[in-house]
């Protein structure tokens, strides 16, 4: 692949090529920042414009919009606690608390740098090892996936600030919400109570926006503090100083590896990667006590992992012709529309085009930093608006975003209901992050558990024999779950000593 780079560069560094990279990245960031538009809608919106373009610029435009939108989701997650995309839900956990204590610019700085590094490394991995990784992904069966998702779920423990019981309860509610709708194996309707709109389940983004953003609007409306100022103070991105990276690089490398690893597994996605990476960072970070209160390590974990997924997700799409999610399915459609057939022959048949796509992806991720700074600078005056205006704007944007996901009026009601329920539960002291984690990871957990049990004739014990990856992941999950218990025991022991 490396020897093809000069030829690939001649395809990228044309006026058309550079134009699509700049425009696509900027458009992706803006669309990703608008709650609800999301990566899939953003990529689908741009698709018709690529039909008149030649192969390389068309695919690069879509990739630029894709990578830009994944990063863009973090802007609204940090500044207004409204994840632009589901993959940014984990970013809210530490990003918004940082913004609330007046460090919005710095929070965006951490997320921008982490996103850029995550994206760049995934581009390098793509360039160097796409075929080998595709083969590795095929070894990951339902039992390994179950163990991986179980590990991801353990981060509920870490984000249950205040009360572990309430966090676990919220996680249980989230897991249940993920069960509503058609059964993934038999197709039978579950918990729909005769409502046909529920057959396809609750829309994830409607629930996420409801419990995070709408409930925040209600909390602020209920608050007795008379705010005559903006929600957060922000004047632009502040890059973290080099010294602040001390002790965080190891975590960043780990998160990037998790993002790349999960990206190559079809059907898992960036939201899952962000939460698993967050859980791992919480387990291993020296600042684990500050997680959920505005800890940069949490922000780095979620943002570097979700952007690292973008490159990883292209591995099975390009090398095997298997789209991992809706976005890569649109990519696959674009490749086919342009006469390129993805699959095991793709790299052998179109080496220069593939080298151009992969190296173009590297350039796109390099541009995230300046483009992100530019877009954030433009958004800054908006955030200085008085709280009342901002709250109204948030409700309007949330409604627009949720409507666009499926054009379904029922989703708007779900968002409204989730907002009110979220408000009541938050007054109860229940954290909302575990609910979202349960809902994001639940469906994959269910399908992998049931497939695993069907394969092993209903024997859960068989999960532990002949599946070393699964055993390691489950051991990590058990370790993660027992951490608070060990901590409590140690505290009691020290006190008695």
């Amino acid at each position: 692949m490396i020897e093809l780079l000069p030829q690939a560069a001649s395809l990228i560094f044309t006026i058309e090529g550079i134009g699509v990279l700049v425009l696509g990245t900027m458009l992706g960031i803006i669309l990703g920042a608008l709650p609800g538009i999301g990566s899939t809608v953003a990529v689908a919106m741009i698709l018709p414009f690529t039909l008149t373009m030649s192969q390389a610029p068309a695919i690069l435009l879509l990739l630029a919009v894709y990578a830009g939108s994944v990063y863009g989701g973090s802007l609204s997650a940090i500044l207004i606690n409204t994840p632009g995309t589901p993959q940014s839900a984990a970013t809210c956990l530490d990003g918004y608390p940082m913004a609330q204590r007046g460090e919005a610019g710095l929070a965006l700085g951490w997320s921008t740098v982490a996103s850029t590094i995550g994206g760049l490394t995934s581009a390098i991995v793509l360039l160097l090892a796409a075929p080998q990784l595709a083969a590795l992904a095929l070894n990951f069966g339902p039992i390994e996936t179950f163990a991986l998702i179980l590990l991801g779920l353990t981060c509920i423990v870490s984000v249950s600030e205040g009360s572990l019981v309430k966090g676990l309860l919220a996680g249980g509610i989230g897991l249940f919400l993920g069960c509503v709708g058609g059964d993934p194996i038999t197709g039978e309707a579950r918990f729909t109570f005769g409502q046909f709109q529920l057959i396809s389940g609750f829309n994830l983004l409607a629930v996420v926006i409801g419990v995070f953003a709408l409930s925040e609007v209600l909390i602020r409306a209920a608050s007795r503090d008379e705010a005559d100022h903006g929600l957060v103070s922000f004047s632009g991105i502040v890059l973290p100083p080099l010294a602040a990276w001390r002790g965080r690089v190891k975590g960043l490398i780990k998160s990037v590896a998790i993002g790349n690893g999960i990206g190559i597994l079809p059907g898992t996605g960036a939201a899952t990667a962000a939460f698993i990476s967050y859980a791992e960072a919480q387990r291993s970070s020296p600042n684990r006590k500050n997680f959920g209160k505005g800890e940069p390590d949490g922000l780095i974990a979620s943002e570097s992992a979700n952007n690292a997924v973008t490159g990883g997700a292209l591995v099975p799409t390009m090398a095997l012709g298997i789209p991992g999610d809706a976005i890569t399915a649109v990519m696959l459609a674009t490749l086919t529309l342009h006469g390129v057939t993805p699959g095991i022959r793709l790299m052998a048949d179109n080496p220069v085009l593939i080298a151009a796509i992969f190296s173009g992806f590297f350039v796109i991720n390099l541009m995230l930093l300046p483009m992100g700074m530019l877009v954030a600078k433009g958004a800054a005056p908006l955030l200085r608006l008085r709280e009342g205006y901002m709250l109204v704007l948030i409700v309007l944007l949330c409604a627009v975003g949720v409507y666009f996901v499926r054009g379904n009026p029922f989703d708007l009601l779900v968002m409204g209901g989730a907002g009110i329920v979220g408000f009541v539960l938050r007054r109860q002291g229940m954290p909302m992050a575990p609910l979202v984690i349960g809902m994001v990871l639940g469906p994959t957990l269910e399908i992998s558990l049931r497939q695993g049990l069907i394969i092993t004739d209903g024997s859960f014990g068989a999960f532990f024999s002949g599946h070393p990856i699964a055993v390691v992941l489950m051991a990590l999950a058990i370790g993660m779950l027992s951490l608070p218990l060990v901590g409590a025991w140690r505290k009691r022991y020290v006190a008695t000593e």
Binding site: F176, C179, V392, V400, I420, F423
Partner: protein, 149 residues
């Protein structure tokens, strides 16, 4: 209702909802299917929900922590206005639903300058309709009376 009672009632409601949903997973149709049963996983999840809800209920009964009383009228007005707005978007169009919502919400949230209230309540929905319907061509629901908003 005091805040303490509110928390206990919410906790009880969560327990009852969990138990009611769990009872839905039992029945002849789903017995003996093991992992093939559509209720296999929900039963595990709801069992967990009920068990944790019991612990939460016990914790709430023991708790004596005081929480600030919310501004009930203000939050109810915003919640009702938001729900009415969300319900009417597809019936009267985004613009016609958004303007009254924004007017009510801004006044409720303490904005008193009539020019600002009118400007934001009309200007923001109009800008969103212009952006999505006419620039991005991602149409928001329009009113049954006029096609351009």
């Amino acid at each position: 209702m005091s805040v303490l009672t509110e928390r206990r009632v919410t906790s009880l409601v969560l327990l009852l909802v969990g138990a009611a949903l769990l009872s839905q997973t039992f029945g002849q149709a789903h017995s003996g299917l093991g992992a093939f049963s559509p209720m296999f996983f929900p039963r595990i999840v709801l069992g967990f929900w009920v068990a944790v809800a019991v612990l939460d209920m016990v914790a709430e009964l023991r708790d004596r922590k005081a929480v600030t009383q919310p501004r009930l009228l203000r939050v109810t007005l915003i919640a009702v206005a938001s729900l009415a707005f969300l319900l009417s978007i597809t019936r009267v169009g985004f613009f016609l639903a958004a303007v009254p919502f924004a007017l009510v919400a801004l006044v409720t949230l303490g904005v008193r300058n009539p020019v600002s209230v009118a400007g934001v309540a009309i200007g923001v929905p109009a800008a969103l309709v212009a952006l999505f319907n006419h620039i991005l061509t991602l149409p928001l629901p329009t009113s049954p009376f006029v096609w351009w908003f």
